[in-house]
Each structure stands twice: as C-alpha cells, then as structure tokens.
C-alpha cells in the first residue's frame, strides 16, 4: 500500500513524487485494501452519489415527519420560503442538506458520509457544486475520492464518531470532506485542498454532540446545513490561497485531543448541552418509553427476562 492515509503530509509527498492527481492514491488504496477493480470503485461511488441525489428528492417530496415529531418537513418549508437571504444557490445548499438529513431521521435510505448523523452534508455540497459549476459526474466521483481520503485520515488521527469525539468529529469531518471536494473540483492545488480541510476543522472545533432525547434529529439536522455552509466558506478562503497557518495534520490532532478531553455528557449520551435543557428534557420525557413500561433487571430472575 503506497499511501496509508495516516497523515496529509504523507499523501502530499506521495503526490509530489509520483505526479499523480490527488484522488489517484485513494483509488489505489482501495484497490489494494479490498481487492476491488477500478471499475467496481467507480461504480460504488456512482451508486452512492445516486442515493444522495435520491435522498434530496425524497426529502423534498415525501412526508418528512419523524417518529418523535421533532422533524416536520423543514426542507420543504425552506424551499418554499420566498426570502432568499443570500441568493438562491445558498438557499438550495441549505434545503438540500436538510432534505437528505431529514430522510435519514425518517428511516429513509441514505449514504452514511462518514456517519448517518452527517448524511445530509455531502449530498447538499456535491449536488449544489455540480449544478452551479456544470461539472461532469466523473469530476464529482474524483472529488468523492478526495473526500474519502480526508475522512480516512481524520478517522486515523482523531475520530469520526460523535460518541467518541463530539459533533466536531461527525459533522466536522463531513464538512472537511466536502470542503476538500469543492476545492479539488474547482481546480485548487493540493495545498489548497488541505488548507480547506484545516480551515473547516478550525471552524468546527469543540462542537459537542448533544442530541435531544438521544435521537439523531435536533440539533443534528440543522447542523448539517451549517456544516455545508462552512465547507463552502472554507473552500472559498483556501482557493484564494489564504492559508490555514496551522498545518492540517496539527489541526486534526487538536480535534482529536479536544474530543478526548470533552466530558462524556457531550458525547451522544444526551446528558448535556441542548439535550439537558428544560425543554430538551421535557421532549425526552414525551418521546422516550414510559418508565412504567420498563422492567428493571433482576439478577435472580435473569433467566426469565
């Protein structure tokens, strides 16, 4: 395996030596790791992209009410809102990210990218990027490889799970993957791709995971929209050559360290943050199982239950 995806530095020095485009070593990694053919990988990416587009479509057309009732057709409301605060493309980015994530909350079919909680970000980012800049599918698939490489390194050096590293690890990683995909697709060089990753993570550092009632709904859905916006903001900065100052590997390490020192209250346990607000607790009481229907474990009778 030529690039192990343990650091951005390794990835960059490989590309400088081999003169390969940045996505190529990601492809080689997967071919070697899973014994797949190149065609299988392109097909897999195409299938994932198809599910992402479908998820947006369903989120905007089907009834998106979650079992708890906290999700209630938000994407449609935004699409139909007559005010576009920053133009139509911005609005599109927001409602598309929310549509795909709402489908996830409503038990629809999605692509976990990198996790189910962050499943609205890449759909929103990639489809808006493609439509706005008239990119071919093949350019999108290459960008998805770049995004996957970014995710692999963050998983190795920090974490991609809210329960381990807080929401910075989940929506932050997805946003960083999205930012790198944008910069690559719009012709940025490898330094600019990595700068966009660093800037994104800098912008999302410290974000806690505090889902109300433990359900992947609030604040998750709306964070998918804001993470998509941060991806574009970071890409804009990086593409201009305005650097992150702190190298990307060091930024990722900080994210890992912040995640480790985060109190467990803020790591998907629904014991802190928004989940522990008076309203959050009230909602939890309503949507969670009624305590009278729950049996407490009794060691002596453990065979019976």
């Amino acid at each position: 395996m030529r690039v192990t995806f343990e650091s951005f530095r390794e990835w960059k020095s490989y590309c400088e030596h081999s003169q390969e485009p940045i996505w190529k070593p990601v492809l080689s990694y997967e071919i070697e790791l899973r014994n797949r053919t190149e065609q299988q990988i392109w097909d897999g990416l195409a299938a994932a992209y198809c599910v992402m587009r479908d998820a947006i479509e369903k989120g905007l057309t089907e009834d998106m009410r979650s079992i708890s009732g906290m999700i209630n057709n938000g994407a449609k409301k935004i699409k139909n809102c007559h005010i576009a605060v920053l133009g139509d493309e911005f609005k599109k980015l927001i409602y598309r990210s929310i549509a795909a994530k709402e489908l996830n909350s409503c038990m629809g079919r999605i692509v976990a990218a990198p996790t189910a909680g962050a499943s609205g970000i890449l759909p929103g980012v990639l489809t808006t990027l493609q439509d706005l800049h008239h990119l071919d599918n093949s350019q999108i698939y290459e960008s998805m490889l770049v995004a996957a490489g970014i995710g692999l390194i963050i998983e190795q050096r920090a974490s991609i799970a809210g329960a381990v590293g807080g929401c910075q690890a989940e929506t932050g990683t997805a946003a960083a993957m999205g930012a790198g995909a944008i910069v690559y697709a719009l012709g940025g060089n490898i330094d600019q791709v990595f700068d966009s990753v660093a800037i994104t993570i800098m912008n999302m550092l410290g974000l806690i995971c505090d889902p109300i009632a433990g359900l992947v709904e609030v604040p998750c859905v709306k964070r998918n929209a804001s993470a998509s916006v941060i991806a574009f903001a970071s890409a804009q900065i990086a593409l201009a050559g305005d650097s992150s100052i702190i190298p990307v590997d060091e930024v990722i390490d900080v994210m890992g360290e912040v995640g480790q020192s985060m109190d467990t209250r803020y790591k998907e346990t629904a014991l802190g943050g928004l989940a522990a607000t008076p309203t959050g607790k009230k909602i939890a009481e309503k949507v969670l199982k009624n305590p009278s229907e729950i049996i407490n474990f009794d060691e002596t009778k453990s065979n019976e239950i």
Partner: protein, 223 residues
C-alpha cells in the same frame, strides 16, 4: 486499528437514522432469521439498557423485525416492517429492561419461533453497524456475522472438537475463531466457528451426517 475502506467514509448505504440503532439491529434480526432458517410466526424482543428507552424513537423495533423478515440494511421496507409483519400474521411482543449491568448498553434478546422450531439469541450493536452475538440458545457465543460462521450442536464426546476442526481444515477453510460452550443440563456442546471463506457443500453434509452431531447451521457473511 483495522483499516477502513473508502466505502466506510462514503457509505454504507443504509436505512436511517443511526448505524447502531438501525443497521446493527437489522443485522441481529437477520442472524436470528438465519438460525431459525425460516420467517418466524412468533417473536419476542427484549431491548436492554440504553436501547430500552430509545428503541421506538430510533425505529429499532422496525429494524429488528425488518431483519427477521430478511430485509437487507438498505431495504426501504424496514420503515414499514411492523405493518408488513402484521399482514403476515406474525405475533410480536416487545419488552424493555433497564439496569442489566452485566450486559452491553445496546443489547437485544430475540426469541423467535416457527411451529416447533425456535431460536433465542442475545446480540450487541457495537456501533457503526457492527454487531456481536453473545448467546445462542443459552450457550455462550461470540461472533460478528462478518465472516462465514458454523453453529454446531453436538454431543460432548471426546475428540469431537479436533475432529470438526480437521474436517474444516481439509476443506481448505481457515478458522478465525472458535467458541465452545457446554450446557449444564445435558451433554450437549455448542461449537461456533468463524471461518475466512465459505465451507463446501460436501464438507457441510459430511458434518451433518456424523452420528454425534445433532445440528449444523451455516451462516454466510451477513452484509
């Protein structure tokens, strides 16, 4: 740490909302179905600990029934699995049990039966859609469904384990893990063997034909 695939970063394609509450739970349901070798007509599911309070909100009840109906992780019918099961006249009971401190926070017990066949498993959803089966019919177990698995019930005769291992080795299968557990009540032993590749049909029939072997169930990789 084992290396992730790029399709762990962009993927898997799955039914939401969460890999531990849906994807993993569907898989546990599917293991029960494979062990029963049929669609059950009676099902009882116990959700423990953290699952006990959140299973409805996360749709884990639909996920487990979806798995018992044989649905894959990305099957959109999972959302309606309870209605589908009802139409097939499957009797379903859910129970919640808290404070089972000896069990993993995300544990599920499934008791499923069809006619006079029945199976009972205890499974854990380990996160990221990965699972571990900890008990089968009261015997200790420890398998993930990611490999090819043989579940064998045999009389606890001398040399039986070595004999079975030998048959598998001759079939050119590499054994990854083996769990042997005995029940106190009788002389039976449960052997659970995870292999890196599938076992051949002749080797499987040979194992089944052995006098001291009561039952052999082969579970292919659970995708």
């Amino acid at each position: 740490m084992e290396k992730s695939s790029i399709f762990d970063m962009i993927g898997p394609i799955m039914i939401g909302p969460s890999s531990s509450h849906t994807a993993g739970v569907v898989r546990i349901g599917r293991v029960a179905r494979l062990l029963l070798r049929d669609t059950p007509d009676h099902v009882e599911v116990i959700f423990y600990n953290s699952f006990a309070t959140t299973y409805e909100g996360h749709g884990s009840d639909r996920a487990v029934i979806g798995g018992l109906l044989g649905f894959a992780n990305d099957d959109e019918r999972i959302r309606n699995a309870l209605d589908i099961a009802k139409k097939q006249n499957i009797q379903i009971h859910f129970k919640s049990v808290l404070q089972a401190s000896t069990l993993h926070p995300n544990s599920i017990k499934i008791k499923a039966s069809k006619g006079n066949k029945s199976v009972e498993i205890l499974g854990v959803s380990r996160g990221g859609g990965l699972i571990a089966i900890k008990e089968v019919d009261g015997f200790n177990a420890n398998f993930t469904g990611q490999l090819h698995t043989l579940v064998i019930l045999a009389l606890d005769v001398k040399g039986s384990i070595a004999f079975i291992a030998d048959v598998i080795a001759h079939d050119d299968c590499n054994i990854a893990t083996m769990t042997v557990s005995r029940s106190n009540k009788n002389e039976d032993a449960k052997l659970i063997i995870e292999m890196d590749s599938p076992i051949s049909e002749p080797a499987l029939s040979y194992l089944k034909s052995l006098k001291w072997v009561k039952e052999v169930i082969y579970l292919p990789e659970i995708g």
